[in-house]
């Protein structure tokens, strides 16, 4: 069953078209990675699906709920506020810059939304938060404040924060781009664990090796379109597409240079 159906998604800023006609599905339990050069529209696409940006045209269907009901004067018409709320509750998003609430403790960062949005009793929310923190290896940091944590720890808290709302699917917007290589590993380990638990995930990433290892399917985007879509072995192993080849080649060259 498709958890996410994106059809003919287009996003323009004025006359500038940053995403042109993108369509793809994500099935239940599937891990989809989105790779591509900076400015290719990957993050914008994720932000459109998560209602942080308005879609210009096209449709998005999350867990059977249509976010867009039609089109009027060349602009997408959004579903009612209730439907949009329902969609929001089904998805979680992990940001590149964590965006933890600095004035809340780690525990409160995780429990605040379940308590005040889902109206779960505080004790119950805290119980679940502690369980999630344990899973993230941060049980001892519950009382700390975000500024006292490393970047990797902060990102793990923000993953726990997203999971606390029990989303049907989870989106990651370059979750390791703000971290140094050593801290990157701890985040990737957490995502791998979630993948093993069959969490449906869409991951925008620059970590090619990780995308290859963890995903069921990979999308390569460039210039606001999907250039290629396929199994990681296909896309990374023997792509026929010239543009993909060029991107991956430059990528491995740069990585190699950095290693030296």
């Amino acid at each position: 069953m498709a958890m996410l159906e994106v059809r003919n998604l287009r996003k323009c800023y004025g006359d500038l078209e940053v995403i042109s006609d993108i369509s793809f599905d994500v099935n239940e339990g599937e891990v989809l990675s989105v790779i591509g050069p900076s400015g290719s529209g990957k993050s914008t696409m994720l932000r459109c699906i998560n209602q942080l940006e308005r879609i210009t045209s096209g449709t998005v269907c999350v867990c059977g709920e249509n976010m867009i009901t039609g089109e009027k004067n060349g602009e997408a018409v959004y579903a009612s506020a209730d439907v949009l709320k329902k969609i929001r509750r089904n998805v979680g998003l992990v940001f590149q810059n964590f965006n933890l609430f600095p004035h809340f403790s780690v525990l409160r960062n995780i429990t605040e939304a379940p308590v005040s949005v889902l109206k779960i009793p505080r004790e119950k929310a805290e119980e679940k938060a502690m369980e999630l923190l344990g899973k993230m290896g941060l049980a001892d940091k519950a009382k700390s404040y975000p500024c006292e944590l490393s970047g990797g720890q902060q990102q793990r808290v923000s993953i726990a924060r997203a999971l606390a709302l029990s989303p049907q699917m989870l989106f990651f917007d370059e979750p390791t781009s703000a971290l140094d290589p050593e801290l990157t590993g701890e985040i990737l380990a957490v995502i791998k664990e979630l993948a093993a638990e069959k969490m449906t995930m869409v991951i925008v990433t620059h970590e090619m090796a990780f995308a290859r290892d963890v995903s069921d399917r990979v999308i390569f985007m460039d210039g606001g379109v999907i250039v290629e879509e396929g199994a990681p072995s296909e896309l990374f192993g023997n792509t026929k597409n010239e543009r993909t080849k060029q991107f991956l080649k430059r990528y491995s060259e740069n990585t190699f240079k950095e290693d030296k």
Partner: protein, 223 residues
């Protein structure tokens, strides 16, 4: 003669008079804060509103409030009703002062709040949105606490200025601390009452400073 006056200064007589004036000054101070801070929040919200005519009106209001002397604004509020609008009687002196101070300080507070709100990273609002917080929840749980931390030093500045600005109320003959001190100075042929009044302002502002320092310390648990 002047010297004699200074030496013979009777503090037991002077202090109760000045204390009475100080009470009026404190009232102006307290009521101004009570009205101008919420009003400042409303004005800052209107200034960030998406409807251009509202923004223009707010801009003009802030420009006038910050661009003309407070002393003139006090006189305007007091004299305009009778002189410009043909009212039968002038408004109550004390409340004319409160109105003038409140709308004047609201303009300054509004700009401070706007700076504070705009200093909250966009990601905070996005995270709140993604987690499903309503607009009200986002404002009170996420935005406001962070704004308070950012604006506290600037607000402290304004509050300290306000303590001293209360002396401007004398322009429409409100008997606040400085007006009474001046009166005493002229009847006693001595500048001492003015200096004693200065001590009142100084001690009170010392207290204000300590309170704001405490507040800042309390909010320093996070960065």
């Amino acid at each position: 003669m002047y010297l004699k006056g200074a030496i013979n200064l009777d503090l037991t007589k002077l202090l109760p008079i000045l204390a009475e004036g100080f009470l009026v000054s404190i009232k102006i101070f307290g009521l101004t804060l009570l009205f101008s801070i919420p009003l400042g929040f409303v004005v800052s919200a209107l200034k960030m509103c998406k409807i251009p005519p509202i923004r223009w009106i707010i801009n003009a209001y802030i420009l006038i409030m910050r661009g003309t002397p407070l002393i003139l604004q006090i006189m305007f509020i007091y004299f305009a009703p009778t002189m410009l609008f043909k009212a039968d009687a002038p408004p109550d002196r004390f409340w004319a002062v409160i109105v003038a101070f409140s709308i004047n300080y609201a303009a300054y507070f509004a700009e401070i709040f706007r700076g504070g709100i705009q200093a909250v990273p966009k990601g905070q609002f996005e995270a709140a949105q993604i987690l499903g917080f309503s607009k009200m929840q986002t404002f009170f749980k996420i935005t406001l606490p962070q704004v308070i931390k950012t604006v506290l030093p600037s607000i402290g500045n304004e509050v300290i200025t306000l303590v001293k600005d209360t002396s401007l109320a004398q322009v429409i003959a409100v008997s606040e601390l400085f007006a009474l001190a001046k009166k005493q100075a002229s009847t006693q042929f001595s500048v001492m009452p003015l200096f004693v009044a200065g001590v009142f302002y100084f001690v009170f502002n010392w207290l204000v400073t300590v309170l704001f320092d405490l507040g800042e310390k309390k909010l320093s648990y996070y960065k």
